[in-house]
């Protein structure tokens, strides 16, 4: 039963108010992409023990999608941020570095 802060309405939302939306910062591949690119976009997902970036929706609240950076092992939350971005903002990366020096996730570190 996580608590995540919704960056849109500011509420510290109970997990029952939220819907999980899987891995964050996927790049969409459409027509014209190779089979491998499309396959990876559809099916290949990170499964880290540690730092992870996820999509969540405040579905029983303001209805907005947002991103969360958290640790899958300890459930520590490093921060939540807007869904309208293609990569984690610097302050989120800094917050993770402060707690997990040397972290990396996909191409980010």
């Amino acid at each position: 039963m996580l608590i995540l802060n919704c960056p849109y309405c500011g509420v510290d939302a109970e997990e029952t108010e939220l819907a999980a939306g899987g891995e964050a910062h996927l790049k969409r591949y459409g027509p014209g992409s190779s089979d491998d690119e499309f396959h990876d976009y559809l099916f290949m997902r990170e499964n880290p023990k540690g730092v992870h970036f996820e999509r969540w929706r405040h579905s029983n609240g303001c209805g907005k999608w947002f991103h969360a950076a958290r640790c899958t092992q300890t459930l520590e939350v490093f921060g939540t941020y807007s869904a309208q971005t293609t990569e984690p903002p610097q302050e989120i990366k800094d917050a993770i570095t402060a707690k997990r020096p040397g972290w990396s996730w996909r191409e980010y570190k």
């Binding site: 608590i3 969409r28 992409s33 499309f38 929706r57 520590e76």
Partner: protein, 1004 residues
């Protein structure tokens, strides 16, 4: 015998007598008794039989850890099995029955199992019942089913007569456990100004400290507790709930509390149980410690009890569990029991202490005239339904050279284990404490919260300290630390000073005597409730079970409803010894919530019966209900399946509706169809991405049927889209799909194309929508008057705003039936009036309302697909012959890239066809078509399946649609559908359009 003492009993009120029954016998107790203490006062030591061997069992403990004294409580709608007598508060009229025996408690047939015990060792299920194979079904299973099961399930026709509820609470500090440690920790935290909640599982504050004696700040413990409780009660920032157990600790400070409001006064107004859903910034677990049994032969004979429990029965309830008692111990604390029993007038024959030397409490016992035998042990307890004799021996050795002593009760103490469950539920780690031979919380590895810091602190004896003085200072420190961690500034106050007699160190004793021979080990119980003995765990080790988790499952040690509160540490010590390993290396099994079983009804809370789930009703719901509606759930909606007239079957009604709609005039309440407004400068571009076909080119005033696919190409919804104006579209979704598709659109808008200017609103409930269907559809609308609904003014697949009669409406000329059809939307508030007007005006045209089954049959006759019938999440538009709805002009839409993946273009995919049974019968729903040959399991190979199947009253035969391998290329061929009824249905593959292939009826 066990009996009520003339004095003592701090929790009972001797002026208030209570009558109750046990196995039909009427008995007396006092207010304040537990069922266990009252049964003991009535000399009812034997309270049940064991699960596997049906051995006679008596009460062992005095609290939540009790493994044996489980009873069926109450009657009829309030009957509940497996209730612990030790935590059941006595009330007038309580009825209880013992469990696990047939025909009765005193004489039980299943007890022969104990004679065959050597054939029922650990893992016997896995070993015995493998061969011969047919024996399993006809011999083993019936026998096991007869003898297995704990307690009796309530009668299947009974219904829980009580109500239950959920409460939500938010607090800075939650303290679990209202003993002296919990009370003191709560005070220390509350003095900082933090909001504190304190919960205690029993009806009393103070825990067991008042029984154990000593003083706090120079006062008796009882007095200290009384003062502290009244002090906390006056503090505005403290909430206190007793009869409220901490059931589980979960992520980010979420805790479940289980409050038993009315168990002690059933039938009283108000909920019986309340589930507290608590969010705490910090949690202090002050859950105390539980005494361990000693493992000696016959330690399960009724009359053998924990030393602390025996003490509780004397002090709390004024009950002596025996007349002649032997105390066996490996620590000083058990001497308190000997002293209290002696002072209460009970004959304490002897204390056998496995250690060579004891502390001052032993001296005190000796001075009272109690014989203390150091270095001695119990070799065996003799007696069947009650302790009769005890054979004593040296602790060292195999148990020879025995001396037999007569007695009727044995108090045992193997030391104390902290209750670490709440600490461990959410990941807190433990360390092994050599001095006290127990696991205790490791403060450096607590459960972690959202900020990465620990959010649980253990306090008092649940943290390891056992002496009163240490418990109080530990609790003060925990309360202070919790307040600080929750962001408050604690006051710098000192812990109260506790004083008790100092104790000599205990010595770990895992088996009594230390090298007990096998005959003794086979009668030395570890897990009383699941009948697991020392020899079982040793056998598991010999057979290669090294992991404690595997041993647990193989032997069932700790898997009973008490979850091994008494047995776990003893069991893993035996395992460690058998593996020649050390206890901390073997480790513990996982502690899982709830701490003790909680009622399923409390988890359900208020969500029962009519309020289980909200039901969505259309504006015309009540009319349908009054006019014979046979209801069908569709999503959260209730829709009319058919309108059944008096004397009709549902099937008759459906057939009548089907024929009438094709021949005269039918009305369908279509209000449940999803209606999404999509608006904005980029709305056309957006809809082109969401639908497989082109929506941006649709002209205002026109409608288009559209398909939606997921990104991996599968059909997820369909519906008619109407363009309202330059930047506005109205998208119809399926009845169950409105919220899901709304969410789908929002997801793509918010997370992928967030710079597109589009707004989506779900207006489903703003409109009532009626489908006016049949050859007379136009006539009835023209009779009501208003807008021009002629073929020229409102052609097929167009819509117009206007007035029909007095109603503002939007009329869509669309058809899901193949008939002349209008779907007319009016404001929801006008829905019933509009429906009434249509029914009245339609009389002369043969109007009849029709339900969803008729709707399904009409569409199936026309070969129209239904999302959820023809699709199941693995079906693509191409499977259904819907290529025409896939835009070739658009560069991109959701699903387009996926449709070019190799498997999606595979010609072997099952494709939609119509199916016509050879003999006119109806193919069973869900039937599969079988082809040549068999698969690896010897089953017929499948070549397709039925997706929709109905009896068509218009055609007078069974019709179906299905997905068949190479289906469209096999027109005219016969395929076979084996039914579960043993028959095989033969059907001819035909075109899926059974009726009016050219669409002449709808295009008039």
């Amino acid at each position: 015998m066990s009996t009520r003492l003339a004095k003592q009993g701090r929790l009972i009120d001797r002026s208030k007598q209570v009558t109750f029954t046990f196995n039909g016998t009427s008995m007396q107790g006092y207010e304040g008794d537990t069922l266990a203490s009252a049964l003991l006062a009535n000399d009812q030591m034997m309270m049940g039989r064991s699960f596997k061997y049906h051995r006679p069992r008596g009460v062992v403990a005095s609290g939540a850890e009790e493994p044996n004294a489980l009873v069926g409580l109450g009657q009829g709608n309030r009957f509940e099995p497996n209730q612990r007598a030790t935590t059941t508060e006595l009330f007038n009229g309580l009825t209880s029955v013992s469990q696990n025996h047939w025909p009765n408690l005193e004489f039980d047939i299943g007890a022969v199992n104990t004679a065959f015990a050597r054939f029922l060792p650990a893992g016997f299920y896995y070993k015995t019942f493998i061969h011969p194979k047919p024996f399993w079904k006809h011999v083993y299973e019936p026998i096991i089913r007869q003898s297995a099961g704990l307690g009796k399930a309530p009668d299947k026709d009974s219904r829980d007569a009580d109500t239950y509820e959920h409460f939500y609470a938010f607090t800075d500090v939650l303290v679990i456990g209202g003993g002296v440690a919990g009370l003191q920790a709560a005070k220390a935290a509350a003095q900082s100004g933090a909001k504190v909640m304190l919960i205690e599982q029993t009806a009393h504050w103070g825990g067991r400290a008042p029984v154990d004696g000593g003083t706090i700040d120079g006062e008796p413990v009882d007095k200290f507790v009384e003062q502290l409780v009244s002090e906390l009660e006056t503090m505005g920032n403290v909430t206190m709930r007793n009869r409220c157990m901490g059931a589980g600790v979960y992520d980010h400070g979420y805790v479940l509390g289980y409050e038993r409001l009315n168990d002690h006064k059933p039938g009283t107004q108000g909920p019986r149980h309340r589930l507290w859903r608590i969010r705490a910034k910090q949690v202090v677990t002050a859950t105390g410690a539980i005494e361990r049994p000693l493992s000696f032969a016959g330690n399960d004979v009724p009359g053998v009890m924990l030393a602390s429990a025996m003490r509780d029965y004397v002090v709390n309830w004024g009950v002596a569990p025996g007349e002649k008692v032997i105390v066996a111990t490996n620590n000083d604390d058990a001497y308190r029991t000997a002293i209290i029993l002696k002072q209460a007038g009970v004959d304490v024959i002897r204390v056998v202490d496995a250690r060579a030397a004891a502390g001052p409490l032993a001296e005190e016992a000796r001075q009272l005239g109690i014989r203390v035998d150091p270095g001695k042990a119990i070799a065996k307890v003799k007696g069947g339904k009650r302790v009769k004799k005890v054979a004593l021996c040296n602790q060292e050795g195999i148990g020879g050279a025995r001396e037999e002593v007569e007695c009727d009760a044995v108090a045992m103490s193997g030391g104390w284990s902290p209750v670490v469950h709440m600490w461990s539920h959410c990941g807190g780690k433990l360390i092994w404490d050599e001095a006290n031979a127990h696991f205790r919380p490791d403060p450096s590895r607590p459960p972690l919260g959202a900020n990465g810091e620990g959010f649980v602190l253990a306090a008092g004896s649940s943290n390891g300290p056992l002496a009163l003085a240490d418990v109080l200072t530990d609790a003060q420190a925990a309360g202070t630390a919790a307040a600080k961690a929750a962001g408050f500034k604690p006051k710098n106050t000192k812990a109260p000073v506790g004083e008790t007699t100092t104790e000599a160190p205990m010595e770990a004793v895992w088996l009594m005597p230390a090298n007990a021979e096998v005959q003794l080990r086979m009668k030395s119980w570890l897990d009383f409730q699941n009948d697991v003995k020392v020899s079982d765990v040793q056998l598991a080790a010999r057979e290669g079970y090294e992991s404690v988790e595997h041993t647990k499952r193989y032997t069932t040690l700790g898997m009973a409803t008490d979850q091994g509160k008494l047995s776990n540490i003893n069991g893993l010590a035996i395992l460690a010894d058998a593996l020649e390993s050390e206890i901390p290396k073997v480790g513990t099994t996982t502690f899982r919530p709830p701490y003790t079983p909680i009622s399923l009804a409390s988890i359900g809370g208020e969500a029962r019966g009519e309020v289980f789930q909200p039901i969505r009703q259309t504006p015309m719901h009540d009319w349908h209900d009054k006019n014979g509606a046979d209801w069908e759930p569709v999503g959260h909606w209730r829709r009319t399946y058919a309108y059944v007239r008096p004397g009709e079957s549902v099937h008759d009604a459906v057939n009548r509706e089907v024929k009438n709609t094709r021949e005269n005039l039918g009305l369908l309440d279509a209000s449940t169809l999803g209606k999404l407004i999509v608006k904005g400068p980029d709305a056309g571009k957006f809809l082109d991405m969401m639908y497989t076909n082109m929506m941006s080119t649709l002209k205002a005033g026109k409608c288009r049927y559209g398909l939606m696919c997921s990104e991996n190409g599968f059909l997820i919804d369909d519906g008619v889209v109407a363009r309202i104006d330059e930047d506005t579209w109205l998208c119809h979704t399926t009845t169950g799909g409105a919220e899901r598709i709304h969410g789908h659109l929002e997801e793509w808008l918010q997370t992928e194309w967030w710079d597109w200017k589009v707004y989506v609103a779900n207006v489903t409930e703003q409109y009532a929508q009626v489908a006016v269907v049949g050859p007379n559809a136009r006539k009835v609308l023209e009779k009501l008057g208003g807008m021009d609904v002629s073929k020229e003014a409102l052609p097929f697949m167009e819509w117009r705003d206007g007035k029909i009669g007095d109603f503002d409406c939007r009329a869509y000329r669309i058809s899901f039936s193949g008939e002349l059809s209008y779907e007319i939307a009016v404001p929801a508030s006008q829905g019933q009036a509009f429906w009434d007007a249509l029914m009245e005006a339609g009389k002369e045209f043969g109007v009849m309302p029709y339900g969803t089954e008729c709707l399904h049959i009409l569409r199936a006759e026309k070969g129209f697909i239904m999302i959820g019938d023809e699709t199941d999440g693995t079906v693509i538009p191409q499977d259904l012959g819907l290529h025409w709805a896939l835009s070739k002009k658009k560069e991109d839409y959701l699903g387009k890239r996926a449709h070019s993946r190799s498997h999606m273009a595979d010609p072997e995919r099952w494709k939609l066809v119509g199916l016509e049974t050879v003999d006119g019968s109806v193919i069973p729903d869900g039937a599969y078509a079988v082809g040549e040959g068999v698969n690896a399991n010897g089953q017929r190979n499948m070549i397709g399946r039925v997706t929709s199947t109905y009896y068509s009253a218009n055609l007078g035969k069974g019709i179906a649609m299905g997905l068949i391998k190479h289906g469209p290329d096999r027109m005219g061929e016969i395929v076979e559908f084996p039914g579960t009824d043993g028959k095989t249905y033969k059907a001819k593959i035909v075109d899926p359009i059974f009726f009016d292939k050219d669409g002449e009826k709808q295009n008039v």
